[in-house]
Each structure stands twice: as C-alpha cells, then as structure tokens.
C-alpha cells in the first residue's frame, strides 16, 4: 500500500477521488504499475489510479493459505463453504470414524470428474441467467491459458476471466505453485519499480517472475497494461526465474522513464 500511495503522490495525487476523466486517462496509460481492474469495489478505488509495485504481481504468496476466497485452481468449482485443506493422506484414517467424514477437506481428483468437464460446468454456473441476459452479457467465454513454471513437473491452466485484477491472479498462481517456489522478496515484499537497481536485483535473483505471451507472440512482463487489456491479449503464462526475465524488464523500464 505504501508504494501505491507514493505512486499516487508522484502523479500529483489523483487518488481515488479523482474525476472520471482522470481515471480513464490513467487507466489506459502505459505504466509500470497496476491500475487495477477498473472494478467498482470501494476497496479498489485507492488502487484504481495508483500504481502498485511490480512485485505485487511477482510476489507469489508462498505461505500456506487457509482460505478465505473460493479455491482458484481448476479442479474445483468455487464452493461457498469455509476453510479447505488439501489433504491427500489422511482419508484412510477417517475411515475409522464413519459418522464424521472430514466434511470440509478437499481432496485431489475427487469426485472423479475430469478437469475439462469441471471447467465447462464452472462456466455454466456463472451463466445461470435467462437467455436474454446471456445474450446481453459481454463475452463471458472463459479465457483459459496455460501456466508453466520453470522447474515444475507439470503445467496448470487458469481462466483469466475468473479474476478481476492482477492481485487475484497473483494469489491464485501463488497457491498453485507454492510448493515449487522458494521465496521471499525482501523484507516488505515490495519493490519500488521506479528504482531500477531494486528491479534489477529482483530480476537477477533466483526469485520468480510472471511473464506472458501476448497475441503477437511476444513475451512480456505481467503487470504493464490494464487488467482487461491483459486478459484480452494474454495467450499463456510462464513463471520464470527472475534472471531469465531480465530481457523483458528494460522495455518496462523504458515506458516508465518516458513517463516521468
């Protein structure tokens, strides 16, 4: 949050109270920060015009998350119930107590419905509107992209349309790949993107950086463009080592420099 406020100040304090015109301008500006998803949630307004540190997208939160929001990987349909724990191994133990199965625990691959089918159903439950609404609702087809992480034995897929911001995506990716990453991003976990040396540190380190391939086939750092634009243009995601992403960063730095 510190960084975003700093950014806002740098811009002359547009802030959440800025006029509509203001907002739009910043929305479409090429900048390093994350203008936010254009969401109208109150919580987001502070971020809507401010820019957040690049590392917010990068910061794949690695700690075990006991969950508040709906599970974000593709195996499950979002469930409204409480905390879930991934639990591969203790199911056999629960057999001893038939009266009380671990009701809230979720298990890999159970029920045995294939991912493709689950994904199709997940889309449908968000489409439980009347046919008229279906017609009017904007392209609500899913935007599935493959996500690979260097060093992980298998790829995942995410539906970008399920998220409204880089934040949410970053959370989801963090959960998906937490067992493969190592990592802390420095004390506060925030990097001032304007600070070239810190960015370079990040990119030179063994930390992980999300990148994506856009419609033109170019590999870009995640976080440059407004969220919707990103969703439209992103074809696949790759979480690569910071040191490998270094070739992508200068482009981003250029844009930022030219702005200020």
């Amino acid at each position: 949050m510190e960084v975003s406020r700093k950014m806002v100040n740098l811009l002359g304090g547009g802030g959440g109270g800025g006029g509509v015109g203001d907002l739009n301008l910043k929305e479409t500006e090429l900048c390093l920060g994350l203008p936010g998803g254009g969401s109208s949630e109150v919580a987001e307004t502070l971020r809507a015009t401010g820019k957040r540190g690049f590392s917010e997208t990068v910061d794949l939160k690695l700690n075990l998350q006991t969950e508040e929001s709906a599970p974000l990987d593709l195996k499950e349909v979002p469930v409204k119930n409480g905390p879930k724990e991934k639990n591969l191994l203790s199911a056999a133990d629960s057999a001893k107590d038939p009266a009380k199965p671990p009701a809230k625990a979720q298990v890999v691959g159970w029920p045995p419905v294939r991912s493709y089918r689950k994904n199709m159903m997940a889309q449908k439950s968000s489409k439980d509107e009347s046919p008229i609404d279906q017609k009017l609702s904007t392209a609500s087809a899913a935007a599935f992209v493959k996500v690979s992480m260097d060093g992980a034995p298998y790829l995942r897929k995410v539906d970008l349309k399920m998220y409204n911001s880089y934040d949410q995506l970053s959370d989801a990716l963090g959960k998906m790949f937490s067992s493969f990453t190592m990592g802390n991003y420095g004390a506060q976990g925030m990097i001032d993107f304007m600070n070239e040396s810190k960015l370079m540190d990040l990119l030179n380190s063994s930390e992980y950086v999300p990148t994506y391939e856009d419609k033109d086939g170019d590999w870009m750092l995640v976080g440059d463009v407004p969220w919707e634009m990103f969703v439209e243009s992103c074809k696949r995601l790759r979480i690569m080592k910071g040191s490998e992403a270094i070739g992508l960063a200068p482009r981003a730095m250029e844009k930022c420099k030219s702005r200020s």
Partner: protein
C-alpha cells in the same frame, strides 16, 4: 494359478529367433499359406492370441496375418518388439496413462509418449492406415512425422490425449490425402494460432468423420463450411463450442446426410455481427432434413428455447449426449419424451430425479446411461438420488452400462437395479461424499454392491463408492468372477478387503484404488495375480516403499513405479521411507523405461 497359458510366456515366445524343434516336420509351405489365408479372418484379438499359442507355425502365421494391433499398455512392450513380431499391421491401437491420471493424480510429464511408436512404425509400417491413441502424449512433430510417413493414412482417433496443437492438426489435414476420420475426443489441443481447417486440400475430400468438439480454440468457420460442402461422404461432424447455432444451421443445410452431429454451442454467438440475430432461422426444418441422424451431442452453451428444433430427429436418435447441457427437468422432459429409440444417454444431473423418471418412461431400449454432476462437490444437496436410480432400474430393463454421480444413495435402490437390470455389464456408482452410508438406514453400502455382483452375472466393470466395509469386498471376491476392471476409492477396513478381491476375481485386469487402508500384506497376497493383470494402481493407501521393493525384487517382469505427487499445501505426513503418493505397477517385457520424469521412481 488356473491359467495354463501364462501370458508372459506368450509374449516372450517371439523373443529372439525361433528354432524349430528337432524332430518336427520341416515347414510345409502349402500348409502355411492355407493357415495364413484362414487366419486372416480371425479378427478378435483374444482369439488371435489363443491361435498363436497352438504351435510354431500357427504363431508365425498369426503374426503375419495380424493387421490390427492392440497395445493395452504402451510400456508393456516396446515398439521394436511389437513391430518385429507383427510385420503387417495396418491399424494400431495404443493406450498410455492409466485412467486415474485423468483426475490429476499423475504428473503431466509422466510419459506415454507417442514418439517412439510413430518412429518405429514409420519404418516398419509405411502402409499404416489407422492410429487410435488413448491417454497418450504426442507433439506437433509426432503428427508431422505421421503425416509424412504414411501415404495411405486414413484414420486418426485421439481420446484423452494431449501435448500437441493446431499446427500438428494442420499437418494431418494437409498431407493425409486419404484421410477419412479425424476424431479428437476429450483431447487437449494447444492453440498454435494455426488455421488447421484451412489446411485441408482443395477439391473433394474423402472425409467421413470430423470430431473436434473438445478443441478449445476458434476455428475458421468459412473454411469449415467449404470443407463440409466438398466432403460428400461426411457422416459424422462434431463441432466445438465456438460454432454458434446460426453457423450450425449453415452447416446442416449443406450436410443433411449426417448420422452423427455434435452441435457446438447451440447458442447465439457473442460478437453481435449479425444484425438480424433476432430473426430466427428455421432450425426446425434444418434438423428435419437430417433423416439419418442417429447420434446427437454438443449443446455446450445451450439456449433452451432452441431445443424444440431438434424434435424432428428425436424419434430416430439412438444416442444423445446432454452431459454439457444445463437444462432443467421440464426442458429436458419435452425433449426426451420423443426419444423412444434411445440406447445411449449422457446427462447432467440438472435434469433431477424427475428427468430420470421421464427417461424411464420413454426410453425402454436404453443400454447405457451416464449422469454427470453439474457441481462436483461433496457437501451439497444433489439433484439426483436413489429415486432416480430406482426409476431407471424399473423403466430401463435392458440397461447394460451405468455411470451415476449422486450425493445420496440407498442400498435398496442399488439392490433394485441389480434385480431389474440383470444385463448390466458396467456398474459405476459415485456417491460423491466420501464414506457416505445408505442415506436412509445409515448402514454401509455393502449390501447394495453385493447384490450387483451377485445378480448381474455379466458384470465386467465395477466402480464402488460410499461407506464400504471389507464385507463389500468379500462379496466382490465371491461373486464377481467376470470382473475385469475395479475402481475403489475411500473404502474398506483392512488388508482383507483387497485380499478378497485379489484372491477371488480371476479375470481382474485393471485394479485402481485410492485412499483405502490396504497395505503391504494385501499387496503380497496378490503377487500371483500381477503377471495376469494389465496394471495395479494404489494411491494414498498403506503400502510402504519396502513392500513395493519386495514385489519388484521378486517379480522381474513387473514394473513398479512410485510417483511423488506434490500438490500445493500437501503436508507429507508419512514415515521416512514412504515418500510417494502413487504406486503404479504393470507387467512388461521390457527393461525400465528411460523417459520417466524425476518425480517417478522405478524400483
């Protein structure tokens, strides 16, 4: 045990050169020719396997005349060995990963690569016409090699496969000039941004079947339209959800000869380019013109108000796949009442018990039913239950195969089905809540499944669920004498459960178990079976690494793989020497494979 023909001996026979036994007659050329001519007519592979064991000359003649090769496990035999024994194969069927891989229980890069097979075949079978792959990984390069190697290639069917993209499809489309069948089912296709539909050559094509309903990328509709128009033999067309209902209409009027149709989205397209979208086309007539249509699927984003357009074809339908079709009981009923000839029906449980009652009333000829959950969760109220199952059992007496997902079930309904549907060959019941007892009596589901194995004398495939004690397994071992495939999850009390099955089911080929309390003792008890089985899968059970090592050591032709599955927050809560989640073992004639990833340990 009882089997005289040890299957490994059979497979090993062709190893090396065959030397005729001293004292036997020299090969009789005439006899061999007659033998080959006769054996050519033997199509069933079990019969062929038996024939090959009669004597050397039968073995040789059978090998020379086998034109369809079935490889049930791509690692059981190497491409080199297979192509050496069978030199004249025209069509090949290869299965790779075990079924539980579909549920994310295996690392993606586990194996089952098509590459070594297509390489070997490109040299050994230049006349190859047909390739059918199930759960294999293949790349664009593999498809390119296939397209380049086989001049007469005619049929490609990929089921549950992945690893390639539209570039690979484009190779097939453009180079296989005799292509009749290109069927992709439940297969992941990477969007390489390649317009593969346009890659089909100009002019009339021999295409008979084109299935791409699982392909999750846009296609060039104009090119597709043109392709359909110049494919007069086209009988099967299954579109993906990027084809709108308007576009479907345009295709239907060009191809009324279709017998199998996958309708795509069955809704309006999202980009409102057609200003006259409000003006509905005469879908009803378009369907009515399809007098040969017997199989319907798709409806992936169905707009229910368009469903009545399919009424004209319902009376002839033998197969209907509504498993992606989110419609309510009333909408469903108005369709199903017309479908009197239906034999195969796949549904979403949104049709509720009511919908199943409608099926029971209308579809007296039903052979196969699958009911999938729209919400595959454990803790919710489900729309289908024992009521639906009971209704089906009473109305559809000819039922042979059922897959039923539900949240609640009773022994009574399962017993009823076992009595009403004695022809059942496949019974797969998935009560989604783990360890769920009979909903009414709160007892285990032992008696229900027991009745199934006892009363359904033809049963070969069984999947159990719900709260089950060892008793259920004792029933299976006692009565399930024809069972070939058994799926177990979250069931049983002790090693005895697994022992009952391994000791009691002589035909067991594929055993997949997860999260059940079976350990090393049970594993050992089945040692005499493993060479006669295709595979054994045990994940999150109580087998130890030591136990697996013992098996591996004493059975050299058994490949014992231990897979580590690392999931996000999975706590590893086992003893030191148990660093694996999955035991997957299978018989094989080959040495350890060298394409396994790091997360796999082969003992």
């Amino acid at each position: 045990m009882g089997d005289n023909h040890h299957p490994l001996a059979e497979m090993a026979e062709e190893d090396g050169d065959h030397q005729p036994l001293r004292g036997s007659d020299p090969p009789d050329q005439v006899l061999d020719t007659v033998l080959e001519t006769v054996l050519q007519f033997l199509t069933c592979r079990q019969d062929r396997n038996s024939a090959s064991l009669v004597c050397q000359s039968w073995h040789r003649a059978e090998a020379l005349t086998r034109s369809e090769l079935f490889i049930g496990n791509c690692y059981a035999v190497s491409p080199a060995r297979a192509t050496a024994r069978f030199p004249r194969v025209e069509s090949i069927y290869i299965k790779g990963r075990p079924r539980f891989a579909d549920f994310n229980l295996m690392p993606r890069n586990w194996g089952a690569h098509f590459r070594p097979w297509v390489s070997a075949m490109s040299r050994a079978y230049p006349w190859l016409e047909k390739v059918y792959l199930k759960r294999m990984s293949l790349t664009n390069d593999d498809l390119a090699l296939l397209a380049d190697s086989f001049r007469q290639f005619k049929e490609l069917e990929l089921v549950f496969c992945e690893g390639f993209g539209t570039k690979g499809l484009s190779e097939i489309a453009s180079k296989c000039r005799q292509l009749r069948v290109l069927d992709l089912s439940d297969t992941e296709v990477i969007d390489d941004a390649m317009d593969w539909i346009s890659s089909f050559p100009e002019g009339e094509t021999p295409l008979e079947s084109l299935t791409f309903d699982c392909v999750e990328c846009e296609i060039n509709f104009e090119a597709l339209e043109g392709l359909v128009a110049r494919s007069p033999s086209l009988k099967k067309l299954r579109l993906n959800r990027y084809v709108s209902i308007r576009q479907l209409y345009q295709l239907l009027i060009k191809a009324p000869q279709l017998t199998h149709l996958g309708t795509g989205s069955f809704s309006q397209s999202e980009n409102i380019q057609h200003l006259d979208d409000n003006q509905d086309l005469d879908y009803h007539s378009a369907f009515a013109a399809c007098k040969s249509l017997v199989c319907l699927s798709g409806f992936k984003e169905v707009m229910p108000e368009y469903l009545p357009s399919i009424y004209p074809v319902c009376a002839n339908l033998t197969s209907l796949n509504f498993s992606y079709t989110n419609i309510n009981p009333q909408q469903f009923r108005s369709v199903i009442v017309h479908c009197h000839k239906l034999q195969n029906l796949w549904l979403l449980d949104t049709v509720c018990d009511e919908g199943l009652q409608a099926v029971a009333a209308s579809c007296k000829d039903l052979r196969e039913l699958r009911v999938f959950p729209v919400h595959p969760d454990e803790d919710i109220e489900g729309p289908v239950s024992e009521v639906g199952l009971q209704a089906i059992s009473e109305g559809c007496r000819k039922l042979q195969s059922i897959l039923y997902f539900c949240q609640r079930m009773t022994n009574e309904a399962v017993i009823a089905m076992s009595r009403n549907c004695p022809d059942l060959v496949v019974f797969r019941l998935c009560i989604m809540g783990r360890h769920q007892p009979d909903h009414v009596t709160r007892k285990p589901m032992d008696e229900g499944f027991g009745a199934i194995v006892k009363n359904c004398r033809k049963l070969t495939r069984l999947a159990v669920s719900g709260l089950l004690t060892d008793k259920a397994f004792s029933y299976i071992g006692q009565y399930g004498k024809l069972v070939r495939t058994l799926s177990v999850a979250f069931a049983g009390d002790s090693d005895m459960g697994l022992r009952y099955v391994l000791e009691g089911c002589p035909r067991l080929q594929k055993l997949e178990i997860r999260d059940s309390p079976f350990g090393d003792e049970a594993l050992w008890a089945g040692a005499h079976r493993y060479y006669n089985m295709r595979f054994l899968w045990m994940s999150s059970c109580r087998v130890s690494r030591l136990g697996c090592q013992e098996i591996a050591r004493s059975m050299p032709h058994l490949v014992v793989e231990l897979l580590r599955y690392e999931e996000e927050d999975a706590p590893f809560v086992e003893e030191d020497n148990n660093n694996f989640s999955v035991l997957y073992m299978y018989r094989s004639l080959e040495q350890t494979r060298n394409d396994a990833p790091e997360s796999v340990t082969i003992l």
